[in-house]
Symmetry: D3
Subunit: 291 residues, 6 copies
């Protein structure tokens, strides 16, 4: 319909055919286990809307992301609200398929629980988590699998030395003790704020050449920079600090990543734009670093 | 702490001890199965806040609700986000206990699914449902039990001639056919708008002296009068029309009732105040009618 | 500065010199005694903003208000937040001065308490009150003079048979008894909704040729039509019903009127536009009726 | 990508190929000439979002719109913000093409000015306009073609006896005089409110079998039912009154229609849902009436 | 009612009996003297809501606040809107009683004026004020006692060398001159931003072992971190800077503290969460420092 | 009307007669060319409202702006929505007239396009632009003159070495190449964040004693500090960093300046207050530096 010139609804307003893509977006409007705010299901749509109103040329990397990468966006996958396992299988299957087809999956959340299902598609990965919270509870309000326990469930399948938590500033006593005993590599939010280059360098050294699953909970940002998250946690880094961090982390050997926990009914757009910018910065870092 | 004169947080700003009460409020911040908007969990709290800013004297009945009834408010019961059955059992058990203690339970929602669990505590009731939607799907997005199927699940345990649906203006083709075949007694929203007194009279005649479980989905109101609901359905009655209707329905032999589907993050207060006023009007009608 | 063509900030975007005016607006950003929502102080400004985006030609009357009347707007008078009496004296003095200069004062509120001070400038008036609440308490939360007691204080200086309350749907038991004993002429909101022409005709007959002080509490409208008020009271008339009513009341011998209780932080503009339209309709009715 | 089951972004969540369609949606995110509120450009997207959360089965007509009609949605056409003529040509060309292909175009606005460009594609049509305002100014703030003059520009190409204005409650003195002299067929909002069936019947008689271009400015609804419009005009009909009206107007010989003036940044969803419901009701009326 | 498991509404979702408590919260929903935004009365409730969604374990201190301290929450005390003195006496009496009972009072505001009444209960204290404004006017809009004069009124009873103002970035010329002449110890917001550890150390040295009344006006934070305050003042420190500061100030010999000036109708939750986190950080610092 | 003590609606709540002024404010509610958010037209009004709630005494400079400068505010000039050239001429003419009368014009936006028309009134100026975006496109969505091309249009009349761009963090590939080839002096946002004093010093050296037109696009601030802009761009400096910068830039030989791109419907007040504070800081710097 060239006489219409329609806006394409995919990430960045672009949309390559799946077959040609090397990067593939999938929205996961999961909205199931929150104990406080909810409304996650509009998250993927609002990140896409913001992405279409940011430049695809990244000044930090000096390149246009869409010139370097072939990007496809499959839209949102179907969520069955009361059947988390069925939804989870759909997530796992999609991530496996995209990976098997030799493409990198990027998941737009949705609730953090989705990371557990996406992670399961990978063997021998290092999990890097940007988050205000450890999410290491064994159970929360009677749930074994929810946003507050998701990384504990990941650790059911991952040696604790393969997990790096960055930006942490809140956990329960039990989580603190568990993390200490399991020797989870951790950088607190104040360590990030005080010296981004050092944290970035140490993280890169720790992870080395391992394949990486990167999960970014938007509440890693201070609520001033990300008011529209499910559980705001004051005392976090600024957007520019996180952009500088992901610019370095993007040089890791990333197999897949997700950006989660946007809650649009509580957002004024600031959080959605931060999410989209973080994704662009990661894509640019990947595009400019030899693998 | 009489030197503080604290505001009591219960419905109406009052709070009798449970033992003395003949009417007992329970909040059910269920927020589990929505396919569109969510944020139900703040519903009970916002209805209580509104109730404390309305008069307890009802001009329509010429009486003060709190002079006639002993009202207790137990607060919100605990919800396990990903375990609907466990939450459901907690709802059922609470309603049974209150009923067994000879008091009338009133449930503040929360998602409509809670009605299924509350209803189960009663035998031989007539269910009267004020709603824009039939909620008679057999399955919705893979769910057998959710806000879109809740009355169908009720009909698993109730003869269809014991269900009355009022204010209906939306359903799927399958629901329309099911309702026709099962001969569900129905008044559409336009029938309500055109003649409240006739509908009220016919409803009272149909139900007779049967014990009644009354469930009020706030989306029965037009979105102008209830913008803060999960699935707005244009074309409904005004608040004054619903107040006039419940003023009559309150004369039925009501065993329990619920008011559900308030979604505060999408409300400007209008819906919460309408909910609180509807409850006061029902309480006044009950208080003034001999049982 | 004709090279700028600046927008004039007065009501309707016009602004005649005071000397030439026969109608004079004064904003009273009083925000002192509320027990629930507040933010009244932005009320006058928002009514003016709305008024500049409505037509000054009234189709109901077939005339342009600004062609018939010379209208001046003095802006907002200064309010001393913690000294209600000082503010009150400023209100009284302004109303007296405008009246003495042979012009009609119109007050834009601001909290309803301002009506007490404005009313004091008149002798032998009939007070017509459009309101959801009677405001006849003798004391409220320890206050003798506040939005909930304002008409009781007026009755300290006015024989009860000179007060007409229209749109009433809420009061305390004490107010109900006081109104009954004092035989306050009253039309409930449901009476208004059922038959505007009858109520209007009866009101005009009751008041006759007496000089009138008209006070319009915007919560007389149902919250669907006026969500941005301090104490929403579900079950009121629609805007069109109130417009039809004031079209008739405007034919009374009005000496002054006020429009009060707008709370902009809780408004989406709907209430401000309703306020401005009601004022235009009143002005048109006055302009077209011979005095 | 059947392994994803993506949500389709078209109207109603469906999306037939253009070739098979008999009804074709086009979004026109025009946001150019407003003098008060703006943000129209998000209008089409929000109407689509609402449409996916309403039933496609219409109880009033007893049919499923998507079973009777093949519906395609081409997305939003490109708007050049400062070049209204270029955008207008794109609108005209699209409507012509769809019409020439034997399909009915439906335009989702966007600002009312788009109707002028869509109308130009038709000869010998009768224009039926649902609107609070006449939009008959010859010039507004220096503009000859904008939301306040659009129907006057239409009359540059249409005999005045081929225009019907319904729901009118506001205009300038000049517009009132122009309408009287040109004998524009008019029903005011109060006439609609007082007797929908009579207005509907008279309108159908007036228009007869003529081909119709129907334009629906959402501000025809009272602001309580449509708060998110550019210029709210208090005193309009309710949604149910407009639904009843369009249910009859849908039986006319409609060639194309538009729904315009939604301003999402000022909407709480109520207006978008009303817009979607009005469209469904129109489609159902068309599907059920023999042409 | 163990069959309900109700959420407790006190700070942190906990609620020890008063008798066992060593820390006692009182809400003061004072909303009386603002000259710009208002809506303070919902402040205490929103801080409590936020507090229930933050961890009670503080990673900075490595302890769980509720394990170390017995915390009781008495709810909100009654406010008489137009009688500031009566309300003030209620505040003073409550603080005295709690103090006399050997417990530490914490006041949740509410308007800053409450600090004057709370302060009066103490002799020989050092007042530490975190604030963007000096609040040292002698009179403001005709008021001798309001949010803009509160610290000047405190100085009617306190030697100026016992007052420390931190975070200051705004005052009138008169306040600047008064502060200079009275030699008020002051750290500006930019001094705080540039070197939190130095300011914290100097403040601790200045105050020494004196008993301290600490008052925290949330507008000390930059509006990005605290948008929901009565008078936003751009140019302030971040939340993490204030958290680091109070972590040190919490080691002072604090007798009581308040957190004031939250205005929920203008907040998106960010400010309420910052307030709750600041309180937790203070409690943890107190719990971990030997007195 | 001294008996009213009306609030003056000009910047800062003051309003000197034009004749006596040396600084003159003009609002330009231009809202024409945006491709994403709009609603600029309320921008000047909201900056004025904020300015009246900030101190006129600046602690950084130790002076009261209104004691040093005679400030007049002409209100908003008329905008013709669809005729950008006509509006532009009105802007140019106003700026020329004010300049010719020996006064300094300050423009309150409104969309950034206005800077092009204001700039045209000056010869031999140096343009200093604080902005997240370069705005150097040659064409955008078919427009030659809009917010995304405005500085390119300025460069049609200005040698590129007379342009300094500060705070830049986003542009298209074409803009990056154009800026490199044209050798536009540029400081990125991260350079500003890392060392404000150095950037300020270098900027002052670069500009020297040239006459300066300063244009401040509020999106130069990070969206946390300025959420209410048309195109939020994450990764910017804080308000305090920009305040420190303008405190130095205010010592340049400024002939005129503008503050643009505020979009109030998307603002919570934070952006409007930041805008007003930046203006005060600039005025104070000008007032305290000898010219």
């Amino acid at each position: 319909m060239e006489w219409i010139t329609p806006v394409k609804p995919g990430f960045g307003g672009f949309d390559e055919p799946y077959e040609r893509a090397n990067v593939v977006f999938v929205g996961v409007p999961l909205d199931a286990t929150s104990s406080y705010r909810s409304g996650y299901r509009f998250g993927p749509a609002r990140i896409r809307e913001a992405s279409a109103n940011l430049e695809t040329y990244l000044t930090s990397a000096g390149l246009d992301v869409f010139e370097r990468l072939n990007i496809s966006d499959l839209g949102d996958l179907m969520v069955t609200p009361t059947d988390l396992r069925a939804t989870g299988e759909r997530i796992s299957r999609s991530v496996q398929r995209i990976t098997k087809d030799g493409k990198m999956p990027i998941l737009l959340g949705g609730e953090h629980t989705l990371s557990y299902f996406a992670f399961q598609s990978f063997k021998d990965v290092f999990v890097v988590q940007l988050d205000a919270h450890r999410d290491l509870r064994d159970e929360y309000l009677g749930d074994k699998l929810c946003h507050a326990t998701v990384m504990r469930r990941v650790l059911d399948h991952l040696p604790p030395e393969r997990l790096l938590q960055v930006g942490i500033r809140s956990c329960s006593k039990e989580e603190a003790e568990f993390a200490r005993e399991a020797r989870i590599a951790t950088y607190t939010s104040e360590q990030v704020i005080d010296d981004v280059p050092r944290i970035a360098a140490e993280a890169r050294k720790l992870v080395g050449k391992a394949r990486v699953y990167l999960t970014i909970d938007l509440d890693v940002l201070d609520p001033a920079f990300a008011p529209g998250v499910a559980t705001p946690e004051p005392g976090g880094p600024s957007t520019v600090e996180i952009l500088r961090l992901v610019r370095e982390l993007g040089k890791l050997n990333i197999s897949a990543f997700d950006v989660v926990e946007l809650v649009p009914p509580h957002d004024d757009g600031t959080t959605a734009f931060a999410a989209a910018k973080i994704i662009y910065e990661l894509l640019a870092a990947m595009a400019s670093s030899p693998k």
